[in-house]
Symmetry: C2
Subunit: 418 residues, 2 copies
Amino acid sequence: MTIREQITEMAANAKRAARQMAALPTSVKDRVLGHMAELLLAEKDFIQQENRKDLEAGRTKGLSPAMLDRLELSDKVIAAMVTGLREVIALPDPVGEVSEMVQRPSGITVGRMRIPLGVVAMIYESRPNVTVDAAALCFKAGNAVFLRGGSEALHSNLALALVLQKALLREGVTGGAVQVVPMADREAVNVMLELEQYLDLIIPRGGESLIRFVAKNSRVPVLKHYKGVCHCFVDADANQQMAVNIVINGKTQRPGVCNALEALLVHRSVAATFLPLVGKALSAAGVEIRGCPETCRILPMAVAAQATDWGYEFLDLILAVRVVDDLDAAMDHIVAHGSQHTEVIVTENYSHAQRFLREVDASAVMINASTRFSDGGQFGLGAEIGISTSKLHAYGPMGLKELTARKFIVYGQGQVRS
Amino acid sequence: MTIREQITEMAANAKRAARQMAALPTSVKDRVLGHMAELLLAEKDFIQQENRKDLEAGRTKGLSPAMLDRLELSDKVIAAMVTGLREVIALPDPVGEVSEMVQRPSGITVGRMRIPLGVVAMIYESRPNVTVDAAALCFKAGNAVFLRGGSEALHSNLALALVLQKALLREGVTGGAVQVVPMADREAVNVMLELEQYLDLIIPRGGESLIRFVAKNSRVPVLKHYKGVCHCFVDADANQQMAVNIVINGKTQRPGVCNALEALLVHRSVAATFLPLVGKALSAAGVEIRGCPETCRILPMAVAAQATDWGYEFLDLILAVRVVDDLDAAMDHIVAHGSQHTEVIVTENYSHAQRFLREVDASAVMINASTRFSDGGQFGLGAEIGISTSKLHAYGPMGLKELTARKFIVYGQGQVRS
């Protein structure tokens, strides 16, 4: 069989499995998830033995220590996957929820019932724990899942898939419900992007070039998140100590993630007092400041920002800092350089807070809080499958509900339309 | 300027206009819609004079009488557009609605605020009234709208656009909020499909080949509805007179629309009694029956169905009829031949009704009611912009709410993440 034939057959299997999945009671889904947790621990030796093949190949290929670290399925990583599964079991099953039932003038009763999306495909890079995390969320929401991981994690992903399949089998659920693409060839991705008749959604996770490639070439709907360039605007009326805390937390608590702070905008009227305050705290935390001319004039430790520093996702201990004239100038900067991820205003001015909340177009808009809260767990969605920065279907962190759709249901007593 | 440059500039204008639109108060939007209604009547002579150019060109080109009829902006059609505008004014504005506010353990308060999608593009065929109907709905939901109508309606659409622009101007709203592509070249469509940086959504309306072309080539998210192949399953326990009424209404009340009934599935145990009953009524209504062998055995007026008749959207007084063994066989047929539009069961059996409701994957699933109710107006959404038969973002009739998204909003008091 060619790669095209294999991938197509697997996707068709997933579509068939989706029909069984949609009717699966919550109790069966939760039992399967429980078996997954149990088997991950029971089969740990096998999983780590396969994982070592990937790690050795990675070392030979000269992967960076950071990449090897992401690749490793240590005891700690496996324990985290098990905890994740237990958390997904505890989440309420969104499927079957009926809402908005109303009686219409015609006499029919109309409402909406939440249903799975069908087949959810994920295309992701290195971390093999995504295989388990994504499978669990998609599965709980009643979807068949079709996973394509990074080539450098192929042995690890296939070992995890074997364990997950064993868990399905224990409850008589078809193996089509959770599948991992068993080859490293790029051609497999190209074929997946064409299979609109079998796949309902593709979620790419990884570098920007992977995501752009998928978005450009897919006929299947894509939920994407390119990058997080989060701003914090410190208004004239801000509580300055609060602003320092929010800036330091956003920039330094975990600099390598998408909800980290990348740029600080400061109202001109408080620049002379606030910048020295925040500059001192940033320097103490080892953060490099790339400033506009006004910032550099006030802060001796700042280096001059280049044009490319505005709107740049540093993912590092670097912060772009700019003095702006007012709220409108801050929002103009965000429109020009933001990534529609998370934007924060620090202010005590009620009208400014409300204008910022209403007018800024980002998946999460915050008043007086750290960008680091922009996360499915922190927002109360439970685990998240990703963060969407485009508005169709979902905008922001996506939990179980965002892996479902709603259909209309109608109860009649023989009504016809006149 | 090349077509590419013109379309790109218009789309960039729309994106800029979207920012103004998002902040527009409901009262201003409703006043603009009111001016549109008033100006359509005041400028009727101008509109009809431009419309006559399209009609004459259409006649010269040999368009069918049905197509010329769809093209004509008669007094009646203009009056219907005005009524439509008044109805949209009466609909509640979904933008700004805040819901699901909860306090999280961290102390932040998180909720969701409904916001416009941004720029909504429509690509449609003949009927120029879509120009006004679609513009009104998108506008009320706070979106900028970018319209590309059929080449045969170009003069009509541009005349309508001029009138709509005049209404915008009266309230100081930028003309970028409602734009009509001013050229008939197909190249304009190709450029639109690439402009993901400016367009948030494309809704194609028209024949299946147009929709498939847009879905296949667009980098912008597409909400699509290919066709409506609606089935009615008459169960063993059905009230047979009710079933006859539902079949006749579904097939004959308006055969040319997507929620008309195209296929009837009859439980084997009642075929001998029900088929003669419904056959007589269908014949009296002038409906041609294309039956499976069993149907043809029972009904002398039935002609043998070809394989292509299953899953075919006749849009005419033709009905495919098949005898099936049971509920599962009916649902298997619907999986194989349905279009995920609207599916009906007629039954008095509680368990069958619930299984059908839960298990059938279609945007609308009904018990004991006519497929013809599958409509935004009948469901209580107000006017509809289209019907989505894919599950992402919206599934089924799409009203004002489906032209919006929700962002997360966070109220903090200086919280940082630990």
